[in-house]
Structures are given as C-alpha cells and as structure tokens.
C-alpha cells in the first residue's frame, strides 16, 4: 500500500464521519485506494419507490458516494459537476448492491470516473459516468 493509498483511506474515513446520508444508507466501505473505491449497501424497504423497486435516487446515491470517495482521495475537496446514469436492471428489497468507482481520466482541475453498481448475482444494476471539479481547498 502506497502513501497515496493511505491518504485515500484517511480521507474516506473522515468523509464518512459526517456523511449522514451515506450513514443512513448503511454504506460499508469495502476498499479504498487512490482514485478508487468500492462500497456496499443492502436495500431496505424505506429505499423503495412506488413500484416496489429501488428508488433511482438511492441507486444513484450509492454510486455517487463511491464517486465522491474516489475523486476526493487525494485530499483536495472535489465536487460532482455532471453525471450520467443508466439503469439496466431494477434493485429489489434485500438486494446487496456494490458500487465500484474507477478513475478513467484526471487533469489538474477535473476528473472522469466510471462507477458500476452490481447486485449479489453480479448483475449490472446501474452504470454511472461522472465528471468532477477539483477545488484547491484541502479536506483537512
């Protein structure tokens, strides 16, 4: 594990402390490294929409947290600018959803990430492409 990966883990631990919505979702951080994160939730009844499937906002939020953890991993505050998400498959109550965020590109000020959300059968539930903007403000 490099120094950058250790920093990445400290960043995510710090972010999670006050990320009340990720806490509400029951986010478990499975893995973090520079420009990378993997997190998980279990879909509860209160996360469903009127059709009895996962509300798109919850699936998005899981991917968005993974995105935030990956793109802030260098310790400079970075915010989501623009995101596109596709929903190939519905999530159901009890499903265990895992979001894995990978850095596709990085410049001084912007980053591009791809996040896959899969269920416990390894089926793709959502594909999220996100562009972020890096401020100069340190997170700590």
């Amino acid at each position: 594990m490099t120094d950058k990966d250790i920093l990445a883990q400290q960043v995510v631990a710090r972010m999670m402390q006050t990320d009340y919505f990720s806490q509400w979702m029951g986010v478990q951080v499975l893995d973090v490294a520079e420009g990378y994160s993997k997190i998980q939730i279990t879909l509860r009844k209160e996360m469903l929409n009127g059709f009895g499937i996962a509300h798109g906002g919850v699936t998005f939020a899981l991917a968005d947290s993974a995105f935030a953890f990956a793109c802030n991993s260098d310790g400079k505050i970075t915010v989501a600018l623009d995101v596109s998400i596709s929903f190939p498959k519905a999530g159901k109550e009890g499903d265990i959803l895992t979001a894995e965020a990978k850095q596709v590109n990085k410049t001084n000020k912007t980053g591009l990430y791809l996040i896959e959300v899969k269920n416990q059968r390894n089926e793709l539930v959502a594909l999220f492409k996100g562009t972020c903007f890096k401020t100069e403000k340190p997170l700590f």
Copy 2:
C-alpha cells in the same frame, strides 16, 4: 382540469402511497398534470454528505421522483432508462428544494423530460434530463 389531469393526480396519489423513499424525503406534491409534476422537500441534516452540503443522491432523488410522477401520469408503468444531471449549486441544510418536471417529447414507448431543481431563492440547484421507457402494464 381535463380527464387526463385527473388521471395524472390519481396516479401520483397511488404511487406516493408505497413510495417509501419519497415519504422518507418528506416529498410534498404541489402540482400534477398530464406529463407534468411539481414537488418539494426541505433538506434535513440526515440528507447531507461529508462536506455538509446536500448529498447528490438526495437532490437526484427529488428530481427522479418528479420525473417518475410526470412520466407515469397516463397510468402505464414507465421506468427511467437514462438520466443526465448537472449540479450548478449546492443545497444546504434547511433549504427548500422544488423540482418541476416538464415533458419535452413523447413517443409510444419512450419519453424525454427536463426537471429543474431550485432552492427557495429560485437558484438552480440541479438540471436533470431523463429518458423513460413505457411498458404496456397498467398501473392500476
């Protein structure tokens, strides 16, 4: 008010009954018509992320509920296929966010909607463009 608008209101009332996540967000339905909806939430502490601003997933979810209400308003089950969202401004605790969904285009099987999320100062917090797919299943 046309018969189609009355149907639209019945559809949204029915959807809200079991839309547990919209209930958790405290969604208030302000207006519904065919291909249209306007809903509102107040940002609570548990909706924030690690930077003390609205979690992108909550802002997305508000817009996504407005989208779902608008594109299901004809009573046939319709699901989100693909969404793009931009975040021009951060939401803060206590902000009152209003999402207004308007139909841009509709074919037999697909629809295109634009949803604006604004705060109590009428500032644009998010711009959401959504494509949905209409099944043949009736909602009732």
Copy 3:
C-alpha cells in the same frame, strides 16, 4: 447591444474563420450575444447515415458548435467537458436545422448550457446539455 455582445460577435467571427468542420457543415450564424448563440444548417445527402436519416454526429456537431460559440463568447478559451444529448426526432435530407444555445449557469471555471435543435417545422430534433471548462487563455 452591449460591449459584451459585441465581443461575443467578434469571438464567433474569429472562431468560424478556422472552424473548418462548421464551414463544411455550412453553418450560418443567425445570432450571437454573451452566453448565447443561434446557428443553422441544411441537411445534405453526405450528412446522412445508413438509414437515410441525419447521422447523429452531424446533429451533435451542430449543437456542439452553438455550444462552443456561446460558451467562448467572453473571449477566454473554453472547452466542452461533458455532454448529454437526446434524439427525439430524426433529421431528413433537406431539413433546415437550427440550434439555439442558452447559458443555464456560469461559475469562474465552468458553465452549463442547454441547446435545442429544431427543424423547419419547429419540431425538436435534439436536446443537448453541455458542461464546459474555462481556461485562463485569451482567445485573441
């Protein structure tokens, strides 16, 4: 007409001089102001795809030129970062397509624009949402 609008027109005139692809498309600049542009093309046979309708790349390119003209109108070089486009209706040979770009939001470094592409019957052919990144380099 303000000084900013005059600058906007000078910027677009300069950009068009070496924008060989917009020249190939036969782009006519109908209107330019700060954060705004309106341009037009006529669909030629060589712009069609294998289904005899406008190639998505040409429709995109028209909107993208309108986007570039609008977001560079302050004279600082600005590039497209992320774009989402929906295609509600196909363009046909001989159609006159007009793209109108409007600024939705602007910060120091980024901008958000919405571009509508319509045909001669005022039908929506494409809806384009674009996020751009502003460098500090002057265009002149």
Copy 4:
C-alpha cells in the same frame, strides 16, 4: 465465428454502403461481432474546429457510428435514444482515432453500450455511453 457474428458483419457492410457521413469521415471497419464493433478514422484538417483541434462533433460521430454498428448487429433497426459523452483529451490533425463499442446490457427493446475512442498513443480521447431503442423493423 458464429452465425450471429456473420450476420453482424453483413449488417455493417450493408449500413456502410449508404452511410455517407461515415464514408466522408473515411471510416475503416476493423472488427465486427454480435453487439460489438471497432472502427477507425484519421483526423483531417476539415474535421477541426476554431481551436485547431478535432471538432467534438467528429469525435462524437466516430463513436456514434461504432455504436450504431454494434447495436444494429442483430439485423433489427435500432436507433440512438440518449447519449452521454466526455472529452478527456483533444484530438489533433493526423491523429488516428479508434472507437471500440461494447454491449453492456440488452433487453428486448433497449440496449446500453460503452464506446471508447482512443488515439494512436492509446490515450482516451472520448468516453461515450449510449442507450438505444430497438424497433421491430428488419434491416434487410
């Protein structure tokens, strides 16, 4: 090579015959299989924009052709519904751009594809996520 792959190649050969814009771009088809395609162009001066780099519309068009070839490969006419594209790196005159389209998901009526556009140094120039809609009309 399966029967489905042979069909895919016949489909693309047929599409290219009347895809005048892909012909104008000088598209070379490198590889085709069911739900997959890989194509290439060389950036010419007339494909540049006012900043002397590849016009976003040309980069998009290359990816869009790869997308069309991949999602029509089963012989039923399929059209692009919604696309999101990010531009991590500018293309330059003389660059050889390769677009590779891969199927991420497929249902009866819709498909989700990811297309990477890379230059001759294997650098990512664009990342394209596309959703398509399948009609029942046969291509032949």
